[in-house]
């Protein structure tokens, strides 16, 4: 199989690392060679963060290169635009529309761009946007945003849904399993009309 390239981006502290580890371990279970490249240390303190996930028959480099990502999952709107050039011509951009102001915007030395979605739609072959924070608030737990995004990612991947759910069960605290599965389903069926409540 050709190597699959996935970039998970966001703001330090949002949980991008955990999402990439769940994906990486699922790919291992499917028998692929897998490499993950993570960000630890200073950048985690609210900085722009990126995790690279690559899997296939044989993977050498742990890095997804500019122009080669099959999927970018962005936990924050502006970060999607920051990493957009990593997406391949055929690639898919998954965006959580949450806005997080970086310090230059907070101090007024820069403005948060207002044309992010227009640029994404103009330059990416496929864009799926999701308001993860609102969905999480509806579910009654703001902390499940990353599980909703995991569901959205799963929707675009050829890994059976059951396996994602098993992975969630192994990862989250036991008493939050139910709400995390609900959150996953919200993301997994996002934009899909099932004529039923999920």
């Amino acid at each position: 199989m050709n190597t699959k390239n996935i970039l998970i981006v966001g703001v330090g502290g949002q949980g991008t690392l955990l999402t990439s580890r769940i994906l990486g371990n699922l790919a291992v279970d499917l028998g692929y060679d897998v490499k993950l490249s993570e960000v630890h240390g200073m950048s985690q303190r609210g900085g722009s963060v990126v995790t690279h996930v690559r899997y296939g028959t044989k993977v050498y480099s742990p890095l997804v290169e500019v122009g080669e990502a099959d999927i970018i999952l962005s936990f924050e709107k502006m970060e999607a635009l920051r990493w957009k050039h990593f997406l391949s011509a055929e690639g898919k951009m998954l965006v959580n529309t949450q806005e997080s102001d970086p310090m230059p915007v907070i101090t007024g030395s820069a403005s948060y761009p207002t044309d992010i979605m227009e640029k994404l739609y103009a330059d990416c072959k496929e864009v799926i946007e999701i308001d993860g924070v609102s969905i999480a608030k509806e579910l009654g737990n703001i902390r499940v945003v990353n599980t909703i995004l995991l569901g959205l990612l799963a929707q675009s991947m050829d890994i059976p849904k059951d396996q994602w759910i098993e992975a969630i069960k192994l990862t989250v605290p036991e008493k939050t399993i139910d709400i995390n599965i609900q959150a996953f389903e919200k993301g997994y069926y996002h934009g899909i009309n099932l004529n039923r409540e999920v």
């Binding site: 060679d33 630890h40 240390g41 200073m42 303190r45 502006m78 635009l81 007024g108 820069a110």
Partner: protein
């Protein structure tokens, strides 16, 4: 069974499988997790040391007594440990001794991007460099074998990309390794001139022998395919070479010091055009060129930052990748967290118009907008002696506008000697120890001042006020940084007097408290005059949204610092009208 492991976890597994008895370190990104993972093995004694020099010396003692020992640090940590490093090269080992050093090309979390291979060359110590997690584990085992076979410490060089990448690792059962007998031998372990002169000869012979044997080591792997173009490389850059040139001939160096001279000569005689792909300094290239071999390296490739597959495509294949450019966007630098006790310090120092010599830790982030609270950052412990230097150059009146800023762990690492220097040499500096009860930036490790060991056991807690008093500081005061009047008074009073002083600003790292569900503050829009004072705190939770000031309830932890800053009482605790 294979499973995903961080490079750092794989090193830890390698230590376990090698029968390591003692493991030491001072935390430093990107090396920290090595020792955290080792600590999970009950069979291994593992500890944080106050600094890297002490860590290495503990490991040397353990090795000489007969146990396999491992010591890990980041690249700049090896500067601190350089003193014992150069001489343990002379003594050699008894039980195997492996020193892990993690370089940081690209400076993800460091103040420079020095190349540790120079240490291996100048200290005459063999150095291995793995290229994925499996090798990280295997090379640790091989390093112990080399260490004991050739009676030498062995360095293993990692880089951030290796340490913090995960790839598949096949584990095996640990080796049964017995303690070696200890024999008192001053000619080997007491490095006075008379003995050291003789040991220097041993070191030279040892390195000559390893150089000769290195061409046969399986660590160094020559694979021949296309004989027109070939590469000599090591570590993570090997992966980029394989990604871009699957059919090229490749000499992969698992041992990066000493170089396998005859193997390299042989490779270069068979392959027409040879490129050297090494991140940071031209260490292979200069040595190989000095043997009269023509190779291509830094003429094409930079000495700065990390390499990538695309870089090789552009520079070596001359491919026009026609890559989309990155958007120009507001940067997103790391920031002090919402609720961080350090924020208050910088806000008050700004208000009082103070300069500050700074140090290494989370609090270095106080140097950037909008707090801009630091004037300098050089290395661990530098804040204190640097302020003393400023005072000696420009006089006490001048330094009444200055303080030195250092964290609790950094103070223990190498701040205390600077403080002793101030007392001894009659300085009057004010030192602020920001005691947040942890080693924060590297991800919350314990240290002597927290009173807990790496294994999670309670231990004698270092009493920082008592320590400062005992070296001769009469004026030591402990303040709560969130009580801003106390803090302001302390800074004003201590910087105005004619004797040295220490202010310990004590409040735990906000991230340590993972259980409380805080009540978030809010801004009363009726009272807010839009003066922007609260934005000067540089708190990520306070921002202007659609023209009004708001507090982001997903980030605010209710530290209440902003309440004290607002002149119009517009910021309120949740639930308070």
């Amino acid at each position: 069974m294979k499973r995903l492991m961080l490079g750092n976890e794989a090193v830890a597994r390698g230590a376990y499988e090698s029968g390591v008895k003692v493991s030491t370190a001072y935390p430093g990104t990107p090396s920290t997790e090595i020792t955290e993972f080792i600590a999970k093995y009950e069979e291994i004694y593992a500890q944080w040391s106050p600094n890297e020099k002490v860590a290495l010396e503990v490991a040397i003692g353990s090795s000489i007594s007969g146990a396999r020992s491992i010591c890990a640090m980041k690249h700049v940590g090896l500067n601190v440990a350089a003193d014992p490093l150069f001489t343990v090269s002379y003594t050699g080992v008894n039980g195997g001794l492996v020193i892990i050093v993690a370089d940081d090309p690209g400076m993800h979390s460091s103040q420079n991007e020095q190349d540790s291979r120079y240490y291996a060359r100048s200290a005459h110590i063999p150095m291995l460099e793995p290229s994925d997690s499996q090798e990280a584990k295997d090379f640790v085992k091989e390093a112990f074998n080399i260490s004991e076979k050739y009676d030498t410490p062995v360095l293993i060089r990692l880089t951030t990309r290796l340490s913090h990448s995960q790839s598949l690792v096949k584990t095996s059962q640990p080796d049964e390794v017995a303690l070696k007998e200890y024999n008192k031998d001053a000619t080997k372990y007491v490095m006075m001139p008379g003995m050291a002169i003789k040991r220097h000869v041993v070191v030279e012979n040892r390195m000559n022998q390893i150089t000769e044997d290195a061409s046969k080591f399986v660590l160094n792997d020559a694979s021949y395919d296309d004989l027109e173009v070939g590469f000599i490389t090591s570590g993570i850059p090997y992966q980029y070479v394989k990604e871009v040139f699957p059919n090229a001939s490749v000499l992969k160096l698992g041992m990066v010091n000493p170089l396998p001279k005859s193997l390299i000569q042989d490779f270069c005689s068979k392959v027409k055009k040879v490129y050297i792909i090494e991140e940071l300094e031209p260490i292979f290239e200069e040595q190989i060129k000095s043997w009269g071999i023509e190779v291509i390296g830094k003429d094409l490739l930079t000495v700065q930052g990390e390499y990538s597959a695309n870089l090789l495509k552009e520079k070596i294949k001359n491919e026009d990748l026609n890559l989309a450019a990155a958007e120009t966007l507001p940067g997103r630098p790391p920031v002090l967290c919402a609720g961080c006790p350090h924020r208050s310090i910088y806000y008050r120092l700004n208000k009082l118009g103070k300069h500050a010599t700074g140090d290494i830790g989370c609090y270095t982030l106080g140097a950037i907008e909008p707090l801009k609270g630091l004037d300098t950052c050089i290395d661990m412990g530098a804040s204190i002696p640097m302020l003393h230097g400023i005072e000696k150059a420009r006089g006490r009146e001048y330094t009444k506008d200055w303080v030195a800023i250092i964290g609790d762990s950094t103070f223990v690492h190498s701040g205390i000697t600077g403080l002793i220097d101030i007392v001894y040499n009659k300085g009057c500096s004010t030192v602020m120890i920001l005691d947040n009860s942890t080693t924060g930036m590297t991800g919350h490790q314990d240290n002597p001042a927290t009173g807990v060991t790496l294994k999670g056991e309670k231990t004698k807690q270092l009493d920082l006020p008592l320590l400062c008093k005992s070296v001769g500081i009469n004026r030591v005061r402990v303040v709560d940084p969130f009580k801003y009047k106390d803090l302001e008074n302390a800074i004003t009073e201590e910087t105005s007097i004619e004797e040295p002083s220490v202010i310990i600003a004590k409040a735990p790292c906000q991230l340590l408290d993972k259980h409380s569900v805080p009540k978030q503050n809010y801004i009363d829009v009726e009272k807010c005059k839009d003066c922007g004072m609260c934005l000067k705190l540089g708190c990520p939770a306070i921002k202007k949204s659609h023209g009004i000031m708001v507090i982001d309830d997903t980030l605010c932890v209710g530290c209440n610092l902003c309440i004290g800053v607002c002149k119009f009482q517009a910021i309120k605790k949740a639930g308070v009208q």
